[in-house]
Assembly symmetry: C2
């Protein structure tokens, strides 16, 4: 794979700021990255948050995570043996780092090394058939023996079977909630064994109780950690298909295990095959499909496909940013100009924001389209989007597309 500049390791203080920033209101993984780019560091971003949100149209002050809150999370983590690994650090899983919405901080129990091996995700139904479970077991063992870590979602059925089958070779699980609230509870003994040779990770606050919408969100990390995702059994509309969709959006391989058309648990996997997923009837199929990615072409192709994000966030990648750099003004040129008085530059910048706002609607548009249509500079678009996202007025969807959030009845 391509050589990268050696990634930095954060100081304790920087890690503290990173955690505060990602635990603050309306700061998702994308906004986090944009803030870091724009402000030069997490501390500067934290300081700028209230003003940025206000300019984006927030009707009340944004909630910034308190130092106490983070102290408590760190204390619980120490007790549980959980460490926090930041996106820019060497221990962060390199393949996960490539996805658009990579968690800025990953809470990790277990062995860092497990996250550095090539990985494959195997997912499937909670109410799996005996044949599905047997096949999942065989597949996980075969791939483990071939040197792959196996990632899954700790759920009943296929997920847990897959974890159990790869304990000795490397099992990685992704929690939908925090480490202090493992879910499902029946998986607790399994988790304890997984962290001996493998790892269990979470992006959520350590005491977060997972709710329904956290599971699909979690699935992007399952697929994101892996070079490819295999769906063993899945009914139509099941969560495993969401994982497959994420894998596709992340330019990862998707494989599906075929099943009888009369078996409802095969409907989802057969649909995937119709949509172009590769067919998987043995570990060899997976090894063949992932070989190009494993041997490095994968990373090359990802680097080529930078597209929208590169254009907006600049050529300098996040990993080249010095996280300890002196904070600089990150409210945007227009703020600086406004402080100097209402000169030409401020008018221009305010005008660009108005044009961008007017162009956004409920249908997602790409950042490129937006910048072109608004006749704005990438920096203007970047700052405006940060402001709007912090104010909770826009949202990102797959492939770096932005839409306006539906207006709420009350101003909350």
């Amino acid at each position: 794979m391509a050589t990268r500049p050696k990634a930095p390791k954060l100081t304790d203080e920087q890690r503290f700021d990173w955690l505060r920033l990602i635990r603050s209101e309306n700061v998702g993984p994308r906004t986090f990255r944009a803030l870091l780019k724009n402000c030069g560091g997490a501390r500067a971003a934290l300081e700028a948050l209230p003003e940025l949100a206000r300019r984006g149209g927030a009707v009340r002050p944004i909630r910034v995570a308190s130092a106490d809150e983070i102290e408590r999370e760190l204390a619980v983590a120490r007790k549980l043996g959980v460490r926090f690994v930041a996106l820019c650090e060497p221990a962060y899983p390199q393949v996960l780092r490539q996805i658009d919405s990579a968690p800025p901080v990953l809470a990790l129990a277990g062995r860092e090394e497990a996250l550095q091996q090539p990985a494959v995700a195997i997912v499937g139904s909670r109410n799996a058939s005996a044949a599905g479970l047997t096949f999942a077991d065989r597949l996980a063992r075969g791939l483990g023996q071939a040197g792959y870590v196996v990632v899954s979602g700790l759920a009943r059925g296929i997920d847990q079977r897959v974890h159990a089958a790869s304990l000795a070779t490397g099992a990685v699980g992704v929690l939908a909630g925090g480490h202090a609230k493992p879910y499902p509870s029946e998986a607790v003994p399994l988790i304890a064994r997984m962290i001996e040779f493998g790892a269990v990770v979470s992006e959520m606050p350590i005491e977060w109780e997972p709710r329904g919408r956290d599971f699909p969100r979690r699935n992007r990390i399952v697929s994101g950690l892996a070079l490819g995702t295999v769906v063993v059994e899945a009914a139509r509309g099941s969560g495993s298909l969401i994982t497959a969709r994420f894998a596709l959006d992340q330019n990862r391989q998707v494989l599906a295990v075929p099943g009888s058309p009369l078996d409802p648990r095969a409907e989802g996997t057969n649909d995937l095959l119709k949509q172009g997923a590769m067919i998987c009837t043995s570990a060899d199929d997976v090894l063949t499909a992932l070989e190009p990615a494993r041997s490095g072409d994968f990373f090359a192709s990802l680097n080529e496909g930078g597209g929208d994000e590169e254009a907006l966030w600049g050529e300098q990648s996040l990993f080249d940013v010095d996280p300890g750099a002196t904070p600089r003004s990150c409210i945007g040129d227009e703020l600086a100009a406004a402080r100097r008085g209402a000169d030409q530059s401020a008018d221009d910048a305010g005008g660009a924001r108005d044009r961008i706002m007017a162009l956004l609607g409920p249908s997602p548009v790409s950042l490129d389209e937006l910048a072109r249509a608004a006749e704005a500079t990438t920096r203007e678009v970047r700052v405006t989007l940060i402001e709007l996202e912090l104010a909770g007025r826009v949202e990102f969807s797959g492939g770096n597309r932005i839409s306006l959030r539906p207006a709420r009845g009350d101003a909350e």
Copy 2:
């Protein structure tokens, strides 16, 4: 579809000659067509057979079917209600006519109209699973209701289930032997019902007892009658996969029904999916896959892809030949020249035959390659191949490729 010149109907005498020619030794469907092209009619070809075979190097006289033999076949056919339909006649199934090795004469019991409707082949294991049988039944009914005749091979298991499920909408069966020796015998009552609304066809002499090698050969007619072939269940190496291979060679759609990787009866179909077959989990999948063919693009594409055969047999298609034309010399220019004395033309032609023979080996080569390498005219290649085939010294394989037959220990 493209309009063709109205195909002729044979006289009784011509039909008799066609039958004699195709029942003669070493005359397969391809050689039959080549002979008709070259000699201008079946009667002329019958007269030329002995000399052509001798020139091809036959060590004993070729066996030409006797008039008595054909009289007997016609008598048995009359008793059984079987008619003979020739390749050039309007009643011949139009889609079957397109394949390279279309039987020159088809023995037909049942309704001609069933062979004029769009057809789909459904094939599968003899020892099918209950799920496989249920699915095959559902598929055949769905396709029958959508206006498709369903073709299969009368075998136990999937084939017979498919025939039974399409009795009311149009069931077409292809025998591996003659109509007087229906196989398997358990299918006799089914066959009787099929010919009420559908048809049962055979290319073999009416009293032919089918042997092992007749079944794969028969399968090309099953796929050839249909716009596409669906394989429901198939173990590795099963006959259904041969039908799928024929369908592919015939530029027809191949669909396969997925199954669990743990089910040996799904290994063949899953393999087909890996090789690019379309996945079939419902009749709708088949309807979608065959829609372009049914609406006529299929025929257009076939006509474009004439390739080798067009080049060799001339632009005039078989259907434009007047089967009642005055027989003309068809031993080739070299024979005519030889009769005039050993002049330049005879030397050239004999030289071309030697060069063609020297170029042939056990590995199949295309006719085009052969003509180019031999620096021979297409007519020289055509005549030489007819001679060699009649002498039993070459054989055709898929895609119009020719190879030398392995020499026999004895000269027989």
